[in-house]
């Protein structure tokens, strides 16, 4: 399902905090070709979370994902890799950030 004006795909968003067994419905998000998000609808108790997620991720020029540790890296060090919006893995990077930071899991509607 797409949003005709922006050629955006529509996703059901579900929320799951770390450790939660089950996700709960959070709302509907539209995601365009540049992986920008638009809030279509939201469950009232999760509206702020969805709004912040949309605003924060849309404000980024690049996404980041955790990178593989390198030989010589100190234990407990944190290494990441930037993923430009036009990179092939940008969508998965955005989805990973959405899931890890905001607990939002997207499923295509319809």
């Amino acid at each position: 399902m797409t949003d005709g004006a922006n050629e955006a795909a529509m996703f059901q968003a579900a929320f799951r905090a770390p450790g939660d067994k089950n996700a709960v419905p959070a709302g509907v998000l539209a995601v365009d070709a540049e992986h920008r998000l638009r809030l279509v609808s939201a469950e009232p108790e999760l509206a702020d979370r969805l709004a912040i997620a949309v605003s924060t991720l849309n404000g980024r020029e690049t996404f980041t994902v955790r990178a593989a540790p390198q030989p010589g890296d100190a234990p407990l060090s944190l290494r990441k890799r930037r993923v430009p919006r036009d990179a092939p893995e940008a969508r998965s990077a955005m989805l990973e950030m959405l899931r890890k930071t905001y607990g939002l899991e997207l499923t295509p509607t319809g």
Partner: protein
């Protein structure tokens, strides 16, 4: 008047007798104070009608039936004197026990002289008055002695009681250090000396007090000897523990025995600190036992470690994923310890099975519930930091221009991150840690965001303040939250190792798993598969909680802004 005096003296003597404090005739004949004796002789010469003699040697019935102006007769006075004699003799019979008694004795003798002089005139009424006053002073002398006697006997009772208690406790020790035995003998001799001094006749309470001082000092010295002996034992315990403490545990038992020793040692040290040497010596047996048990398990020989590992690999391989998942966190941690028995696995079956155990060990519910509560509190606390508040707009988004000002100044970056870390650790009930920054650009392998260094001391956090790493403010916040959770993990592991985290604590199993996963123990090497690397317990916790905590913070800031606070 004579009736009153008679009653007073009689009552006093009765009291003395009642208390068993009356003096034997032999004692009365040998008063220890010369001044009193001299005065006594003088008074007897001056006052006793029966013995008064003229200078020419002719006895004179001087007072006879003479009456004093007020009508008191010689015979009345003689009767009063007879009744007062015993009290006066008793007062004179021992050394005055203190300054009050000395003054009273002096006053008594002066009053007796005055009484004698009055009888000479003759004025028996005056003589009687002085005599009564002298008896009162005699009573004071006796009362002071009585007080000192009672005080000495009570002090002796207490010192005997404490000595007996100490001696009995020392007698029950498995091993009695030589200096303690010696101090005990000295104290026992002092106790015997004090007993002798307190029953000695004639009574000499000042000397008895000296003997009791010696007993008290001997008991104090015995206590010091016990503390010193306990300190010597403590040094031995430390040496033995130090020899084994850095050995990598090959089993969860080794960890628990280590904690058990440290708990016993902490109690032992507390007793020494409280100067309870006997208590410390009593506790030393438990410390020794706990240490011996730890030593037996702490550092198995290489061949034994290899065998533990071989069996562990076999055991874990037999478990299906479902069986492994269903095991308790403690049981999985125990398996992980065995898989690390021969050192941190770097390849082969040991590494594969360790990764499998880790992958099937997501955080326990109790730990996650705690984390949920902690995240909320951390977000609320950080949101109220003034430097944080001014960075965000009312929607919870970072204001780009404000962030640019921060990252242009490395000190501001460090200070801001430090404030976040401090607030986070305060919520977690832990002290702040050092936060430092460095600058390193992105390269082909990615961006170093920073790390947390675990050592024997407090953990430290090092973060990359290069714009490649923190150009996006989200990354800076997530990195400091992530690394501060690693710092907390280190402190939790140290608490467990120090025996400060009880096995009954709901967080214990998770922290036990953190411990086996710690760097140098079972932390996975960098060349392991990335998914496996990120699935190890320390990383799962820091990554999921640190990252998610950022959205909690954004929501808290939004709430603060919208409420106008």
């Amino acid at each position: 008047m004579s009736f009153v005096l008679s009653s007073l003296v009689t009552a006093f003597l009765s009291l003395m007798e009642h208390l068993g404090l009356g003096d034997t005739p032999d004692q009365q004949t040998s008063p220890p104070v010369d001044v009193s004796r001299q005065r006594k002789e003088k008074v007897e010469t001056e006052t006793h009608p029966e013995t008064e003699t003229r200078q020419d040697g002719v006895e004179k019935e001087k007072v006879g039936a003479d009456l004093s102006p007020e009508g008191k007769s010689k015979s009345d006075y003689e009767e009063e004197f007879r009744q007062a004699a015993e009290a006066i003799a008793t007062a004179r019979s021992y050394a005055a026990v203190n300054a009050t008694a000395t003054s009273a004795l002096e006053a008594m003798e002066n009053l007796l002289i005055a009484a004698g002089q009055a009888a000479e005139r003759p004025d028996y009424e005056e003589a009687s008055t002085k005599l009564q006053a002298a008896v009162v002073q005699a009573g004071l002398v006796a009362a002071e002695r009585e007080k000192m006697r009672n005080a000495a006997l009570e002090r002796q009772r207490k010192l005997n009681e404490s000595f007996t208690g100490i001696a009995e406790r020392i007698g029950k020790l498995t091993v009695v250090p030589g200096p303690v035995t010696s101090a005990l003998q000295t104290a026992r001799a002092a106790k015997d000396g004090a007993e002798q001094a307190c029953v000695k006749k004639p009574e000499d309470w000042p000397k008895a007090a000296t003997a009791l001082d010696q007993l008290e000092n001997a008991e104090r010295d015995l206590g010091i000897a016990c503390v010193d002996a306990a300190k010597t034992l403590a040094s031995g315990f430390v040496l033995r523990f130090t020899a084994k403490k850095d050995a990598k545990p090959a089993s969860v038992d080794a960890v628990k025995l280590r904690s058990g020793y440290l708990v016993a040692k902490k109690k032992f040290d507390g007793l020494i600190g409280a100067q309870d040497g006997i208590g410390a010596l009593e506790a030393s047996a438990a410390v020794d036992t706990a240490l011996t048990q730890f030593e037996a398990k702490a550092d198995p020989a290489g061949s034994e470690r290899a065998e533990i590992l071989r069996v562990a690999i076999s055991d874990v391989k037999k478990l299906t994923d479902e069986e492994l998942t269903d095991m308790s966190m403690s049981a999985k941690a125990a398996l992980a310890f065995r898989l690390c028995a021969n050192g941190a696995p770097t390849s082969g079956d040991a590494l594969d099975q360790l990764c499998r155990v880790y992958a099937k060990s997501p955080p326990e519910k109790a730990f996650l519930d705690e984390r949920r509560s902690q995240r909320t509190k951390i977000a609320e606390k950080v949101a109220k930091i003034a430097d944080i508040d001014k960075l965000f707009d009312e929607d919870g988004d970072v204001i780009g221009s404000e962030w640019s000002k921060i990252i242009a100044d490395k000190d501001k970056v460090r200070d801001l991150l430090k404030q976040i870390s401090d607030a986070q650790l305060e919520v977690l009930g832990l002290p702040p840690v050092t936060v430092s920054t460095y600058s390193k650009a992105e390269d082909s392998t990615g961006i170093e965001c920073g790390g947390c260094v675990w050592s024997d001391g407090p953990p430290t956090i090092e973060l990359n303040a290069h714009k490649d790493a923190i150009g996006d403010p989200d990354e800076a916040f997530i990195s400091i939250l992530h690394e501060t959770f690693h710092a907390q993990q280190d402190m939790l592991v140290k608490q467990l190792l120090a025996g400060e985290l009880s096995e009954s604590d709901p967080l214990y199993p998770q922290v036990l798993m953190f411990m086996v996963n710690k760097p140098g123990q079972g932390y996975l090497p960098p060349d392991v598969d990335q998914d496996k690397y990120e699935a190890q317990p320390l990383e799962v916790d820091a990554e999921s909680q640190g990252t998610f905590a950022y959205s909690d913070l954004q929501l808290a800031i939004r709430a603060v802004k919208s409420s106008g606070n």
